[in-house]
């Protein structure tokens, strides 16, 4: 019933009229893909005319790739199977893109007898897709720029103030931020420092920006492409890349200005710190002076007494030459002993720049044991050294660490004098704890007031009449600069123990840079 009705409506139209009026483009070809028939919509979608379309004419206005593919159409002969193609027609400089459904027509005798193609216009979709792709690409480029500037901030922040490190890392950052990073190379040059990527060569395709420091050209940033790339705004580079390279150069200029200013401040600070450190050391030595004077006067007394005794022996016509020679030996031994004390003292008092070298901590202690014992003896205090055998080596400024130890011993002696306890020993220990050498100085003296915890390490805090109050403050900054820490505890049995650490490995980090 329904079939009858349909046939009825259809009979009002001729098949040809229906095909002509269909809202899709239709083309019918023979097996050689020669056009047999095309409807009106076909011409509109492809932009072709009846003439340019006839026979294989329509194939000639196809994009060569599409044409080549069409000429190869060879579906199975026995069974017709639909397939899809996207075809690009060019006419009068415009490109029409059409989606095509292809139905091979099968003749029982000859196999494929032709093709029926239905096409719809997808030009707009394709253009939109393209525009989206371009936008995405552009956005990606902008993100790269942002990343580049952010990366530069990160580099500056983590450079530890080293301009060389900043410039070196910037070259790597630049390469990654340019559109064609696969063929990009970069160089940054600044005030005698020059860094470039391994692949850097002078190429034809490059961008350059000057680095200005306080308005004066002091260096440059360069990015180059090793191979030719499509022309853009500035050779193969984009306007944004020009802006980026200028921004990077400007940032580098400002960073340099800041680093140089910081460096000047640091140098000044360093100089002041060294002067203060020296002053404190001399002040500690000053506190030890009477002990040292005593220690020097002992051998001098012996020397003068020996000499006078010799004179008497000779005057009394003593003929025992062996005795005289023996006494002369003793005189020179005593004189050397006096000299040694002075020599060690001179070492400690000498003004010098701080320098860190790998040194044997046990050896470091041997250099001050004698001075510390002298100081203690004068106050009837025993200074005892309990050091681990085979103390490790560490990169330290020997004199400064000796200064810290002597300072703590000095404080221990003063505290003992003040407290006048039964136990008059000041004990110095050095032992390995994890990756540190831990040094402690224990006294049984007057102890530290409960409310002094905070002030103790502050500059100019002192409880001594003659002190300048810098000892502990400087000691702690020396220890901190060596990567260690300093603290104290109150002993249960009275008195105080001061501790500080010297890292065995980490201290090497501070040597370089």
């Amino acid at each position: 019933m329904q079939g009858d009705q349909t046939a009825g409506w259809l009979s009002d139209y001729r098949a040809e009229e229906l095909i002509e009026a269909a809202p899709v483009g239709i083309i019918l070809t023979d097996a050689k893909k020669h056009c047999l028939y095309a409807n009106r919509h076909w011409y509109r979608l492809t932009g072709l005319t009846l003439d340019s379309s006839s026979d294989d004419g329509w194939l000639n206005s196809l994009h060569p790739d599409d044409r080549a593919r069409i000429l190869c159409w060879a579906p199975p002969t026995t069974e017709a199977k639909e397939f899809s193609e996207e075809l690009h027609f060019e006419s009068d400089g415009t490109v029409n893109i059409v989606a095509t459904r292809v139905l091979p027509l099968i003749d029982e005798v000859r196999g494929i007898s032709g093709y029926l193609c239905a096409v719809t216009d997808v030009t707009r979709e394709r253009e939109t897709e393209q525009a989206l792709r371009t936008l995405t690409h552009d956005l990606r480029e902008r993100v790269k720029e942002l990343n580049c500037l952010f990366g530069l901030s990160h580099i500056v922040e983590h450079s530890g103030g080293s301009l060389a490190r900043i410039l070196r890392d910037t070259t790597r950052l630049l390469v990654a931020s340019w559109e064609h990073s696969d063929v990009a190379c970069a160089r940054v040059e600044m005030g005698g420092l020059e860094f470039e990527t391994d692949n850097f060569i002078d190429t034809r395709w490059r961008q350059r920006a000057d680095i200005l420091v306080h308005g004066k050209p002091s260096g440059s940033v360069e990015v180059g492409y090793l191979e030719e790339r499509p022309e853009q705004d500035e050779g193969p580079f984009q306007t944004e890349e020009r802006k980026l390279i200028d921004a990077v150069a400007e940032r580098l200029g400002r960073v340099t200005e800041r680093l140089r200013a910081e460096q000047r401040v640091n140098e000044r600070e360093q100089e002041l710190r060294e002067r203060l450190t020296h002053l404190t050391r001399v002040s500690v030595m000053g506190e030890m002076a009477s002990g040292i004077a005593h220690e020097v006067s002992q051998p001098l007394t012996a020397v003068s007494t020996y000499a006078q005794a010799c004179r008497r022996l000779l005057g009394a016509d003593m003929t025992d030459k062996t005795l005289i020679l023996d006494v002369l030996d003793r005189i020179s031994k005593e004189a050397l002993r006096a000299g040694e004390v002075l020599h060690r003292l001179k070492d400690l008092i000498r003004k010098r720049e701080s320098e860190r070298v790998i040194c044997d901590i046990g050896e470091l202690f041997r250099g001050i044991e004698n001075l510390a014992e002298i100081d203690g003896r004068l106050h009837d205090i025993r200074v005892l050294f309990e050091l681990d055998d085979a103390l490790a080596e560490a990169a330290v400024d020997e004199i400064q660490i000796q200064q810290v130890i002597l300072n703590l011993i000095r404080n221990g002696i003063d505290a003992t004098e003040e407290g006048d306890p039964q136990n008059r020993d000041v004990i110095v220990r050095a032992t390995h704890v994890d990756n540190d050498i831990r040094i402690s100085v224990t006294d049984h003296g007057c102890g530290i007031p409960q409310d002094a915890d905070y002030q103790l390490f502050q500059p100019f805090y002192t409880t001594k009449e003659s002190g300048i109050g810098m000892g502990l403050s400087i000691s702690r900054s020396i220890v901190t600069a060596h990567g260690g820490r300093m603290w104290f505890t109150r002993n249960l049995e009275g008195g105080t123990t001061f501790y500080f650490t010297i890292p065995i490995e980490a201290s090497e980090d501070h040597v370089g840079d």
């Binding site: 004077a293 007394t301 012996a302 007494t305 005794a309 004179r311 008497r312």
Partner: protein, 209 residues
């Protein structure tokens, strides 16, 4: 070692100073013994031995001043010469106030020290002689009978025989005999000498009433 030969005892913790002092003292022909600490000296200390002590003020453990105090508590008469460093003059002053014979400052002139040592030895000898004399007189006093002592006490007080006879309710003759015995036993040639001898000792006459 001999108890009569004068010896210089040197106590100093510094071996160089000790050794050189020993040589110096020996070079002038004196006996010398050295000790590295006050305790070592105390261990060997014999109050009967004459001489002098050369002592370092500043020593670890027992100091020179500590040793001086210890010897004083043992009624030692050994003179002490302190050796001090420049900075220790206040300590030396304290030592001298506490009865030290003298002090020298390091480094010293040999003649200074030797003079002081010799002076101290002589002084010690004199003290010892005086002490010996005193103990001799005491033993003479102890050899008197109670009656003779009563007579001597009054003679020394300057009383005449008549007054003594009256006080002791004796005859003058008896007093005269006792008095002659006293002079003989005390080996005194005159009343003046007797008075001097008794005064030089710590002898206290019993209440004479």
């Amino acid at each position: 070692m001999s108890e009569t030969r004068e010896t210089v005892f040197v106590v100093d913790d510094d071996s160089g100073v000790r050794d050189s002092l020993e040589l110096l003292v020996r070079s002038v022909g004196l006996e010398v013994e050295t000790y590295p600490s006050a305790l070592d000296f105390l261990e060997a200390y014999n109050p009967k031995r004459p001489g002098c002590l050369v002592l370092d003020v500043r020593m670890p453990g027992m100091s020179g001043l500590d040793l001086q105090r210890e010897l004083a508590s043992r009624h030692s008469i050994l003179p002490i010469i302190f050796i001090t460093a420049h900075a220790d003059v206040p300590m030396a002053v304290e030592a001298v106030k506490a009865g030290a014979a003298d002090f020298v400052q390091k480094p010293f002139r040999d003649q200074d020290l030797i003079d002081k040592i010799q002076h101290a030895i002589e002084f010690n000898a004199q003290i010892r002689k005086e002490a010996a004399d005193r103990s001799e007189i005491m033993s003479r006093i102890e050899s008197l009978t109670p009656r003779e002592r009563q007579v001597m006490d009054r003679v020394v007080e300057g009383k005449a025989n008549k007054a003594i006879a009256h006080a002791l309710e004796l005859s003058r003759r008896t007093v005269e005999i006792h008095r002659a015995r006293v002079m003989e036993k005390m080996q005194a040639t005159s009343v003046a000498q007797l008075v001097q001898m008794v005064m030089s000792t710590e002898y206290q006459p019993p209440d004479s009433r």
